[in-house]
């Protein structure tokens, strides 16, 4: 039986990068790059006539934003699988790209095996993010309401019923500072007043 060869398009503003990645993919024998584009507009036009199985998409393009483009592709051509291939390893960028319906996210610094694995996985309908990316996503999503040591001390004294001047004296801070911290604690726990604050502390067993 003849093996199916995955059809791939590449969009990257550096012609050289397009060609290089094409070579790598074509050499593997598992997939074939039929077109490369250096602008989003060129790719948009080509997609109207013929669609690939997998689209490799660079996020920072000169004529637009890869993220918005990704959302349009996923909406207009649900069968096309989009893999972001980029230099960006920031949490917000990865998150936005995945939110827009990208099927895979590969960093340009990853190995060629990883890229081929990504192409294979998304074509089979799985989501693929490289290992490094998974770590970043997990860490970014973790809930992060924390109290600093200074806040903990002030909160403890508030719960013990001390006034701002007393807390200021105890912790060697100015009254203004303590007052500001009190405001910040209210904002942090999204409560209206000190009573609400104390109740939250006891309910959530924060101290």
């Amino acid at each position: 039986m003849k093996k199916y060869i995955i059809d791939v398009y590449i969009v990257d503003d550096h012609q050289l990068v397009c060609e290089g990645i094409s070579d790598l993919i074509n050499q593997s024998g598992q997939a074939h790059v039929s077109y490369t584009f250096t602008t989003l507009e060129a790719c948009r036009l080509a997609l109207q006539n013929r669609r690939p199985d997998v689209l490799l998409l660079d996020i920072s393009m000169p004529d637009g934003d890869g993220i918005t483009f990704c959302r349009q592709i996923v909406n207009d051509y649900p069968k096309v699988k989009v893999i972001a291939i980029t230099i960006h390893d920031e949490y917000s960028m990865i998150q936005r790209m995945m939110d827009c319906g990208a099927h895979g996210y590969v960093l340009k610094s990853s190995s060629s095996e990883e890229l081929l694995e990504a192409i294979n996985s998304v074509w089979q309908g799985k989501e693929y993010v490289s290992r490094q990316v998974t770590d970043i996503l997990e860490k970014g999503k973790a809930n992060s309401v924390t109290l600093t040591e200074v806040e903990k001390n002030i909160l403890r004294l508030i719960c013990d019923g001390h006034t701002n001047p007393e807390i200021a004296k105890e912790l060697n801070l100015s009254t203004e500072t303590v007052n500001w911290y009190r405001k910040r604690l209210l904002a942090k726990f999204d409560v209206k007043n000190t009573v609400g604050l104390v109740r939250t502390v006891f309910e959530q067993k924060l101290l």
Binding site: H14, V17, E90, S112, T177
Partner: protein
């Protein structure tokens, strides 16, 4: 790459100045009747007159020396210096201030011609001081002062221009501008606007460059000077090509080309550069016509031999890029190799030459060489970034010092005036006035310092943004590809490539975090926290804040965000290095009137007697924005550092 323009401008400027001096002398001579005998005399007859039985005396002798100096200047500098010295000596005896400043300025110009710029500056500044003295005497008219000042400012600016001290050069050109405007000297205005435009262009501030070039064009059109019009057109064409603005470049190209083509023998220096711009115009994305581009490029290359190096380099780079667009790699290589400066300085132009070579070698499959040029490019970029930034800051310092001196002069002048009042006013009133005056001076000084710091910060921001983008997007992508290709061929090179890559990304990020530009402070701080171990980020919105991301709105919002981001960077670094913290948290609290950044750690706490460099840096950063630092520490448990900026 653009140094040759400077020479060209200098020449024009010198011509303009010479004409002005001649007119000025004419006016002076008409007023002095005794001078009539010498009015049209050449150097020989002047000398003969000096040796005659009835030599000129007093002011006339002084003028004779002055004119002899200028007469000898072009062909015999020894004699010129001799007469200059005589004129100088005599001017001290007769208190001929105008001649004195003129002689001093010409001495400066002589040193300038010999490329001894330090000496030249010394003389120019001396001349400026003489003009200041002239201002205190009634016998000189405002026109005398303006004439002298504009010439000296222009000369000083030219020195700074040639020394690549762009900020200072612009500052002095801008001092000369209002004088030219006052007398409506269109030619001089055109030259200055053009020079300023060119400086901004070199600095990468394309917006301001465009503005100044356009002004130059307007003024030259008003004066009908076709040479200056062509210069302005050339600048604009270059700029639009750089901006990839096809429409505007296309509009201006024919006018520019027409002039330079018609005057290609006189403008042998600039004509090939215009050709290169035309070639680039025809290589632009979407309007490609490579055969036309080839025609222009080949003509430019054939003329390139007679040029100074910077322009040659630019032309060969154009040829190389053209060959690359046509996939003729060997040809591209032969051109690209000719772009490299033998005594390489670190400039962004050098870096782009290395980038070309790296691309070509990658394409030719010579990985070792590609790798070599990528690391060379990286080195150059880093060096350029630091040098450029450092020199920018030191120039700001010089400007600030100059302003301080001006304030002192003003202060002295008004103190003198105050003595008059002393006689008439009661002592008590004077004390009260003095206090008020001091307060005013203090406020003014502080305002100036803040302004200087703000300007420096904004300039820094712009330059960094451009560099960061170049590094991150351009070079980063190339490196990734190189890595993938190397994986199969020579795995031994992989660790080197990886370390270059990491270092490059770190530098680019440090120059300008991209997330901050695109999506603002909150997102950038979140990313920053995620990229570090045991670090969390919280965004707290206090009651009364209606729009969560109000920071960006209005002028200066971006600058505030950048300042806060850099503070966070500095503080987290401090916490890791010095406080031995295990957990770090970054918080950003927004209130209706202010925003507070808190970086806290659970480390050993602060010893408040000693404040490290880090905190001092932060104080300097937030000072222009009226920010404040508050440190709250619980001994042995941890520290909160709160930085508050008003909105």
């Amino acid at each position: 790459m653009f140094n040759s323009y400077y020479w060209n401008n200098l020449y024009i400027f010198a011509v303009v100045m010479k004409i002005k001096i001649l007119i000025f002398c004419l006016i002076v001579s008409l007023t002095a009747e005794a001078y009539n005998d010498y009015r049209n005399a050449r150097v020989d007859s002047l000398e003969a007159a000096l040796k005659s039985k009835n030599p000129p005396k007093g002011d006339d002798l002084l003028r004779a020396y002055d004119e002899l100096m200028r007469g000898y200047l072009p062909f015999d500098s020894e004699k010129a210096v001799e007469y200059g010295r005589k004129a100088l000596a005599l001017s001290y005896i007769q208190n001929g201030l105008n001649i004195r400043q003129n002689v001093l300025r010409h001495f400066g110009l002589m040193y300038y011609g010999r490329e001894e710029f330090g000496e030249a500056l010394r003389y120019f500044n001396h001349a400026l001081a003489v003009v200041d003295t002239m201002a205190t005497q009634k016998r000189y008219t405002q026109k005398d002062l303006d004439d002298a000042r504009s010439c000296i400012y222009g000369a000083i600016a030219n020195v700074y221009n040639i020394q690549d001290k762009h900020h200072l050069a612009i500052h002095y050109y801008q001092l000369a501008l209002p004088i030219f405007e006052k007398y409506n000297w269109l030619e001089s205005q055109t030259v200055l606007y053009h020079n300023i435009g060119e400086l901004y262009f070199t600095m990468g501030n394309l917006q301001k460059a465009e503005h100044n070039y356009e002004l130059a064009l307007k003024k030259s059109e008003a004066s009908g000077d076709s040479l200056m019009m062509a210069l302005a057109h050339k600048g604009l064409l270059h700029l639009y090509v750089r901006q990839d603005n096809y429409e505007k470049a296309h509009q201006i190209a024919p006018k520019c080309y027409e002039y330079y083509h018609a005057h290609r023998t006189e403008e042998a220096e600039d004509y090939p550069v215009v050709l290169a711009s035309m070639a680039r115009l025809n290589m632009m994305e979407g309007h490609k016509d490579l055969s036309v581009a080839q025609g222009y490029a080949e003509e430019a290359a054939s003329l390139a031999d007679s040029l100074v190096f910077e322009n040659q380099s630019e032309i060969f780079a154009t040829c190389a890029e053209l060959a690359m667009a046509e996939h003729q790699w060997q040809k591209a290589l032969s051109y690209a190799l000719r772009t490299i400066r033998p005594d390489s300085l670190a400039t962004s132009a050098d870096a782009s030459c290395y980038r070309l070579l790296a691309e070509i070698y990658t394409q030719l499959g010579q990985k070792d060489k590609a790798c070599l040029y990528i690391s060379k490019m990286y080195d150059t970029m880093t060096r350029y970034a630091t040098d450029h930034y450092q020199s920018g800051l030191s120039q700001m310092e010089v400007l600030y010092e100059t302003e301080k001196k001006e304030a002192q002069i003003l202060q002295l002048a008004s103190e003198r005036r105050q003595h008059m009042w002393l006689l008439t006013l009661a002592a008590a009133l004077l004390v009260a006035m003095g206090i008020g005056y001091c307060l005013l001076i203090i406020i003014q000084r502080r305002k100036k310092a803040l302004l200087a710091a703000k300007v420096a910060l904004e300039a820094e921001t712009k330059e960094r943004r451009i560099l960061a983008r170049d590094l991150h997007d351009g070079l980063g992508g190339m490196l990734s590809l190189l890595r993938m290709k190397t994986e199969q061929g020579e795995p031994s090179l992989l660790p080197l490539i990886d370390s270059i890559h990491t270092e490059l990304r770190r530098t680019a990020h440090h120059l300008m975090p991209e997330e901050l530009l695109k999506n603002g402070l909150v997102s950038a701080l979140h990313d920053f926290a995620v990229s570090l171990p045991n670090t969390t980020f919280q965004h707290i919105i206090a009651e009364g804040v209606t729009t969560p991301l109000a920071l960006r709105r209005g002028a200066g919002g971006e600058a505030i965000e950048l300042v806060l981001y850099r503070c966070a960077y500095e503080l987290v670094n401090n916490a890791i290095k010095h406080a031995k913290a295990e957990h770090i948290s970054i918080q950003l609290m927004q209130e209706p009137q202010q925003v507070t950044l808190t970086v806290s750690d659970d480390g050993k706490g602060m010893q408040d007697s000693k404040e490290g460099m880090g905190l001092q840096n932060i104080r300097e950063r937030i000072m222009p924005y009226h920010g404040s630092i508050n440190i709250a520490s619980v001994e042995g448990q941890g520290t909160d550092i709160n930085i508050t900026l008003p909105l």
